[in-house]
């Protein structure tokens, strides 16, 4: 069992989930209550990683992070190393890859709250931040938890994007799914079996938690 890969995977999934929720909350608010005409385009872009092959997404990210683009060159200029094949690059890739898993549940949760409660908050003199923390977030706890669980589970299991932009550097970019690939390549099937079982257990537990919450929400 590659414990280094296990910890790196858990670290990647945790950081990705926390950062994604920070992005998903304002984006979902805008998608749920905003009135811009081009909202549909943003919604489509936010859903794109769900159906795009991970290798396609990984390829574009690899190009974007490399020295051929001004973004890649700027990053190298600022930090002294490329974003590709680093843990930070993996986090960015994972965030984009798991974006729909955060945005869709949170947007659905916010939409179910109804604009009347937002209006009530505004009429009573509350700031947007107060409405967010005292009205929207407490009323969409289940959606937020569901989004967190799905993002975490999805990041734990990702392979294509990680391989494309992270490669296979032990301690830096080798996650559990890459470790399984390596173990199979080396004919270490017993190791691969153990690693696969750990991945299976983590993702299954996360999904059971998400579905039991959904059931609670329906019955409650």
């Amino acid at each position: 069992m590659d414990t280094q890969a296990l910890w790196l995977t858990l670290k990647l999934a945790t950081v990705t989930t926390v950062l994604l929720l920070c992005i998903a909350v304002p984006l979902s608010w805008w998608l749920a209550f905003g009135q811009a005409r081009w909202k549909i385009a943003i919604e489509a872009i936010a859903t794109l990683p769900l159906i795009l092959p991970p290798t396609v997404l990984g390829f574009y990210l690899l190009v974007l992070m490399g020295p051929r683009t001004s973004f890649g060159r700027l990053y190298i200029h600022l930090t002294g190393h490329p974003l590709a094949f680093s843990f930070s690059g993996l986090v960015i890739g994972s965030m984009i890859y798991s974006l729909p898993f955060a945005v869709q549940p949170v947007t659905t949760g916010f939409s179910g709250i109804g604009k009347e409660l937002l209006d009530a908050g505004r009429l009573l003199g509350a700031s947007w931040l107060r409405i967010l923390f005292q009205v929207l977030l407490p009323l969409s706890k289940r959606s937020l938890f569901s989004a967190a669980v799905l993002c975490f589970a999805h990041t734990i299991g990702e392979f294509g994007v990680v391989l494309m932009i992270g490669g296979d550097i032990p301690g830096a970019t080798r996650t559990l799914s890459i470790a399984i690939y390596d173990q199979v390549q080396d004919f270490r099937y017993a190791d691969a079996n153990r690693t696969a079982f750990v991945l299976l257990a983590i993702t299954l537990a996360a999904l059971i938690a998400a579905y039991s919450l959904r059931k609670q929400a329906r019955s409650g």
């Binding site: 109804g114 009347e116 409660l117 209006d119 009530a120 908050g121 505004r122 009429l123 009573l124 003199g125 509350a126 107060r130 005292q134 009205v135 407490p138 009323l139």
Partner: protein
């Protein structure tokens, strides 16, 4: 503009093919905005409250400019001194009645907030319901709690958008009695939306008639709605 007007509004707003053009003033303690469904009554109230930004307009309350689209000035909804109870008032479902009423009082000192809370709970006779959640309230109790929440910050003007239309006549009359007593005591004027001729007549208020997005007339109820009353009486065969 009437000399004693405490609010003057010039609102021009387009929603698709509907064009609202409403110029009016409020000077009576109780004004009814009367008109058929789809006339634009709710939009007028939402513009006054600050929930809808009109295409063009100017709203002046006392000496305060609440909205002036020409200069780009707009005062945020909760800072206009206007309380607004919508057609379907929404209490925060995860907060008790007490917390709902206290929501708009966060800027007050603790003692004053508690005092205001007690006053509102007593005024609308919902003291025993203070710790209940909105889902545990009956229709009438819910409306009383929503009214208490709207009045707790002591607005300078209260807007009511037919919030009691779903209640039976007895309950509605009881809530309106409590509300009227408070409005008289606190000198808070009321702008009340209605499409019910009988109800408008009962209020004995100043009436603004809005039809197809235009203010048709404004004046005392017995003058303004007399032709409609005659028409109704003829229809039911009383004349």
């Amino acid at each position: 503009m009437a000399e004693s007007a405490f609010l003057t509004a010039e609102i021009s707003h387009r929603i698709g093919s509907f064009h609202l053009e409403a110029h009016f003033h409020l000077s009576a303690p109780w004004t009814v905005l009367f008109g058929p469904s789809g006339a634009g009554k709710s939009t007028v109230l939402r513009v006054l409250a600050g929930l809808v930004a009109p295409s063009e307009g100017r709203i002046l309350m006392g000496n305060r400019v609440l909205l002036d689209t020409r200069s780009g000035l707009t005062v945020a909804p909760g800072h206009r001194g206007i309380g607004f109870l919508t057609q379907q008032p929404a209490l925060f479902p995860h907060m008790s009645v007490r917390r709902n009423i206290a929501f708009g009082l966060h800027q007050l000192a603790r003692e004053e907030r508690e005092q205001r809370l007690k006053e509102m709970l007593a005024l609308f006779r919902i003291g025993p319901l203070a710790e209940r959640m909105p889902s545990e309230l009956s229709g009438g109790e819910y409306q009383r709690a929503a009214l208490a929440r709207s009045l707790a910050p002591r607005p300078e003007l209260l807007l009511l958008d037919e919030p009691f239309s779903g209640l039976d006549a007895e309950l509605k009359a009881s809530i309106l009695d409590d509300l009227s007593a408070w409005l008289r005591k606190s000198h808070t004027p009321l702008l009340y939306v209605s499409h019910d001729l009988v109800e408008a007549y009962q209020t004995n208020a100043e009436v603004i008639v809005l039809e197809n997005g235009r203010i048709e007339t404004q004046g005392p109820v017995h003058e303004v709605l007399a032709p409609k009353r005659e028409q109704l009486l003829q229809q039911i065969g009383a004349r």
